[in-house]
Amino acid sequence: MSWTRREALLGLGSIPILGTVWWAGASGTVGKKRERETILEQLNIQPSLPNAVPAIGGKPVRVGIIGFGIRGEQLCRSLGYATDEWIAAMEEAAAEAKKAGQPFTALEDFRNQEPLNVQITGVCDVFDIRAEKAMRSFGTEDQPVKRYRTYKEMIQSGEVEAVVIATPDHWHAPMSIEALKNNVHVYVEKPMTHNLKETYALKEAAQNSKAAFQVGHQHRQTLSFKTARDIVEKEILGHVSLITTNTNRNDDNGAWNYDIVPQANAQTIDWEQFLGSAPEIPFNKNHFFRWRKWWAYGSGLSGDLLTHDYDRLNCVLKMGIPKSVMASGGIYTHRDGRNVPDVLQANMEFPEFSTGSTQKKGKEKGMTFTYSASLGNGFNRPTMLMGHDASMELGNRLTIWPDGGSTRYAEMLEAGKMSPQSPIYSYNPAASALDGVSSATSQYFADKGLMWTYVDGKRVDSTFLHMREWLSVIRNGGTLSCGIQEGFDEAIAAHMTGLSWKLGRRIEWDREGQQVIPIEGVDLDAVLLESPPGVGRLEADVVA
C-alpha cells in the first residue's frame, strides 16, 4: 500500500483543522475564564446570604391591622392572609396567563410562602366595606377578626400585641406613638411621619418603649443590597462623588389614581376620622381613595417614592441625613387637582461623606445624591453609584464597570485586562428564575429590588422577610433592619425635600442639634402640610 503525498493531504488534512478549531475554542474560553477569575479574586466580593432569623416561637403573635386598603392587603398577604376576592382574581389571572402562555406566579408564590406564627385578630378601617372584607376573609368561627372603630380602641384593648399601620401618611405618627406608649409592637409603612415635629416625637417614643418598631422599607431584606454594601466597604468603587436615582412611571396606578370603590359614600366611610389633623372639607371620594395626591394626607414623590431610593442607598452606604437639600419640579403631567408635584428633582449634599479614596489623601471628600422623578414617562433609568474607580448599577441585579480614569485599576486597564465597556462584576441572583410580573407599577418596583429578593435562585417576597424579622424580634429580641434611626433618617430627608420644593430654597440639617435648621418667620411644619400657593385646589373633586 502506498500513499502519495496528495492522498495523505486529502485524507488526513481534516485532522489538523479539527485540532486547531478545538484548541482555539478551548484556549480562548479557558483564558477568558482565568482572566475573569483573577479579577474576581482581586475584588473579593462576597455575595450575601440571607440572615438566619430565630424562630417565632410560643403562641401566635396577635396582630391588629390598621388601614386595610391596597397596601394593607399586601402586608396581610405577607403575613399569610389573602382575601377571598384576591384569590379569585389571581386564579382568573393565572388561567388567562396560562392561555396566553405567559408565566404568572403570584398565587403559587403566595401558597408556597412559609407560614408565620401569627394570627390577625383585629382590624381597624374607617371604610365599612374594607373592614368587613378583612373580617370575612380572615376570621373563622373559633377565631373571629374583631373590628375596632378607632385605633386607640384597638391599641388599648389588650387584645393585640402588635399593629401593622398602613394608613395615609398623616396618621402614621399618631398611631405609632400611641402603640409604642402602650408597648404594642409597630410595623408602620413609609414615610414614617408626615411632618418634622412628629418625627422628633416618634423617635423619643420609640426610644422610651419596650415595643419593637419597624418601618416598612422591605428592600432592606434584598440580598443584592447587602452584597452592594460589601462592595462599597471593600472600596471597589473608590470615592463615590455622585449617586443618581430615579422614578419613571407612566400609568394611572403609578400616578396614584387608584380605583374608586362604588360602595363608598358618607354612610360607609367615617370621614371625620379619615381627616384627623387634615383641614376640614366635605366628604370627598377622590381624596379618600387617592390621598397620595394631596399634602394634607400624603407627601407626594418626596415621601412616597424618594424615600424608597433614599433608604436603599442609606442601607448600602449608611450616609445618614443630608447636610442640605435643594429641590425643584412641578405638576406637569397630571393636572387633575392634585397639589403634590409629579415631576421632582432633589439634590442632597453630603459634603463630609466618603466611601474611601485611592488617590492622594484629602483630594476626595463629599457626595451628591440626586433623585429625579417623572410620573409622565416610563423609561427605566437605573440607579447608579459613580466612583473614581468604578460605576455600579444597583437594583435586583448588580453590575460594576471599571472607570477609564481609575487609579486602582490603572494597571489592569493599561494591560487590556479590563475595559470601561465591560463589566468586571455582575450579580444576578435571578439568573435561573422565570418571573411573572403583571403590571407596569409592579415591574417598576421589581427592577429596583423593592418587591422581592432571591434566595438560592428562588423568588422571595421581601415584605415577607421584613415582617418575619419583625415578628422574630418581637418574640426573641434583637435588632431590626429598619428601626427608628433608619426611619428617622428617611423621614427627615423626605421632609427636607418637600420643604425645599415648597419654599424654593435650600433646607439645612443641624447634625449636632438633631433638627432641621429653622427659617425665621416660617413655620416649617405648617408649610409642609399646606397646599403651596397657586398649586392644586383642596376643595376640588376632579375625578380623572
Binding site: 488526513l12 481534516s14 402562555g101 422565570l434
Partner: protein, 164 residues
Amino acid sequence: MSLSFNPQGSSWSIALLRILIGWHFLYEGIVKLYNPDWTSFGYLATAQGPLKPVFQAMTSEAVLPWIDTMNWAALVFVGITLILGVFEKAGALVGAGLLLLYYLAHPSWPGMAQVNTEGSYWIVNKNLIEAVACLVLFYHPTGSLFGLPRILSKNKTTTKTELS
C-alpha cells in the same frame, strides 16, 4: 472558461461547505464545553412561536442541565463528523435538526420580536439557511474526497485486491 456544470467543482465546493459548517458547530460546542457558567436558560426562557411552551418547559431545574449537556455534545458531534468526514450523513442530519430547533425557538416571523440578532430577516434567517445547507451535505457526502474516508476507502480497495 466553460460555464457548464462542473461535477468536480461542485463536489469540492460542497466539501468546503462541509468543513466550514463543521468548523462553526465545533467552535460553538467547544466554547460551551469549556465554560462551566454557560447555560441555555436565557435562550430557552425567551423562546417565542408555537413551540414556546416546549422550550420553556426545558428550563425547569430538573431538565436544564441535561438540555445543556445534550446541546454541547450534539454541537461537538456535528463538528467532528463534518470536519473529519466520518459519519458525515448522521452529522448533517443532527446538524439540520439542531438548527431547526434553534430556528423554531426564535423564528424570524413577522410579529415576533427579534432579540440579539444582527442583520434583518423576514421568515428566512441564517439558521434556516444553514439547516438547508446541512441537507445538501446529507445528500452529497464528500468524505471520500476530503477527509478520513479517503484513506479508509483506499485501504478497503487494497484489501479487496489482495483477497482476489
